[in-house]
Symmetry: C2
Subunit: 201 residues, 2 copies
């Protein structure tokens, strides 16, 4: 924009909105204008919700989920079967699998996958915490639900090696997850089927 047409506060808002996934620079302007027009119905409540999330959000010290309590909502849910852990790369995968609604298990969020080229080694992921959870006992099955990518499979093998000799059944998602695909983009039906048809590693 050659000349300023609005105050720096609104320009700032547009700049920050453009960094939100799903919004580019043009849609950020449209979003900002909509927010500003719905000042009291949307902008104010959203500002408050973001402020509250910013103050309260934390990573679950048990499973790596994102929540406002620690242990998180999933870890402290007594109706779940905590003897089954679904191991995922990212919190978005945990959310996607929960939407599939096929399991009543607990989770473990790795925070990524092994990727030597990107400098991501075992210590950069939440793998020690996983081994510790299994070593503490009470876990009878690990469902390794990483993405069907090379890095995902490498990570699955590394985890399986780390748990060698421990008494835990290790399974993976059934094929049905498209090779190279990202869990978070799959429909609920495919995810549910892949969970039900999981196979022993």
């Amino acid at each position: 924009m050659a000349k300023r047409v609005t105050g720096p506060e609104i320009e700032k808002l547009i700049q920050l909105l453009a960094k939100v996934p799903g919004l580019g620079p043009r849609s950020a302007r449209r979003a900002a204008l909509h927010l500003v027009k719905k000042k009291d119905q949307l902008l104010g409540p959203l500002a408050d919700a973001m402020g509250e999330a910013h103050r309260k959000v934390r990573i679950c010290s048990c499973c790596g989920n994102v929540d406002t309590i620690d242990p998180c909502t999933v870890c402290s849910d007594e109706r779940r079967d905590h003897s089954v852990l679904i191991v995922v790369e990212d919190v978005s995968d945990l959310w996607a699998l929960e939407r599939a609604g096929a399991m009543n298990a607990a989770y473990h969020v790795l925070g990524g996958t092994l990727s030597p080229l990107d400098g991501v080694g075992p210590d950069d992921l939440n793998i020690k915490g996983l081994v510790q959870r299994v070593a503490n006992g009470g876990v009878r099955e690990l469902i390794i639900a990483v993405n069907a990518t090379v890095e995902g499979q490498t990570t699955a093998h590394y985890i399986t090696d780390q748990l060698e000799g421990m008494e835990v059944k290790i399974t993976r998602l059934a094929h049905g997850v498209p090779v190279g695909g990202e869990l978070d983009y799959l429909d609920e039906g495919t995810l549910a089927a892949a969970l039900r048809a999981r196979t022993s590693i």
Copy 2:
């Protein structure tokens, strides 16, 4: 989501984000997760920017633009030619025309178009304010840059009638704006050409 996987604060954030234009329910979840992961780099600053915009934003009492000062940045810009007013339906059109960068004029935002079927009459728009600005003198040209829709053209005619007998040149955007099209979606080049080739009504 059958069972809760995260705290009510984050669910609330997702619900509100889903109301932002450009984000649906699924992309709102992805956006919320991204924000939460970029807690200090993005979520916090965005919360602050929204809060500040919410507290400060107002409608310019002169032209109807949205800003944090009144008169707005455009109205108080002494380098602009305030004897030329570009009349637009919406603030988004003002922003779009400024991106075209073809004029150094001031603006008047109507806040919509006449639409008897939707119960929008002259008193629901910022038309009296426009007539007053012209009556006050100092305006030599009005460029009526409403959308090329039936309602837009009806509104243009109504305004022209209201200004009958006043000494002001009234022009409209050159054809080049696609019939039925919305200004806000046009590229800068088309908008600039339409402004340059404007014709007398």
